[in-house]
Symmetry: C3
Subunit: 123 residues, 3 copies
């Protein structure tokens, strides 16, 4: 089954993602994501890129928002060896995907000086 | 036939979509869209989101722009029970889609404080 | 094989793409692109739109960035008779696509007064 089940787009001002707030970060990012983003030249942009990435993946799964940011930790985004962001689902996000027959989520990220944007495609 | 026939992206400043103009609104939005957007906490953002959504769907159909905004009323965008925007085509937009063998258009919307963005995928 | 191999999104401030710089232009755009963009009412926006388009296509191919802007000339973007941007790959970009079994790249472009954005889907 290769047809697209859902798509998702999201954007945020990089300055609006509170990557300086350790409670926010530990609630929404996995340890591997925190290690990766923290090691990037522009850590706030990297955290913000993952934030919109998680939101875009969430939308592509076609599930209603839970209103609880905590679940975004179940959507893990890490680069492969070519730098292409790879999506791994855990917990509730993985369950929602399985229920809908979604086995793969493609993701692309971009940021300018001020805005981060993401696009996701679930199939 | 599940392959993607076309994709579309569009963005606008929310302030540039004249949702306060009833002539503009009645020409471009269906009654159901007007009822929905008017009932949202941020009605201008909701109207602007649908505006870029209609433009993105239009692009995904791969047809030349008619230069007549009126045809955007033929692209109706309403949320399903999970809040995922669903696209229904009417009139000329439906005819154009049928001619190209397009039976489904997926859509995702996002807006920040100032910018609305949409992505569509037709298959 | 119709399944999506990769997707790509990119955005830039139109003012950040130095379309006034002939060295930059001749290094990154084909002759046909230069002729097309130069003939548009808003040439800087047209050059910037193609720039983000090339970056988005590049991302959709799933290859690591070469750090050399020159290779973007291998990604040519020209409108068809309906105005829909068509992607033609040359050189290294074509080789990378073939290696990954990619035979088609869909692209959509949008720009506001200040920002150009592109979305690409490779299959």
């Amino acid at each position: 089954e290769n047809s697209t089940a859902g798509i998702g787009v999201d954007q945020e001002l990089i300055s609006s993602v509170p990557s300086w707030n350790s409670t926010f970060v530990s609630r929404n990012y996995t340890d591997a994501e925190i290690a990766y983003c923290g090691g990037q030249p522009n850590a706030p942009a990297s955290f913000a890129g993952r934030w919109v990435g998680k939101e875009a993946v969430f939308k592509s799964l076609g599930v209603a928002s839970k209103g609880a940011a905590a679940s975004l930790k179940d959507i893990e985004i890490l680069p492969d060896e070519s730098g292409v962001p790879q999506v791994t689902l855990h917990g509730d996000a993985l369950s929602a995907a399985k229920t809908r027959g979604i086995s793969k989520v493609l993701l692309s990220l971009s940021h300018s000086d001020t805005i981060a944007i993401a696009f996701a495609q679930a199939s």
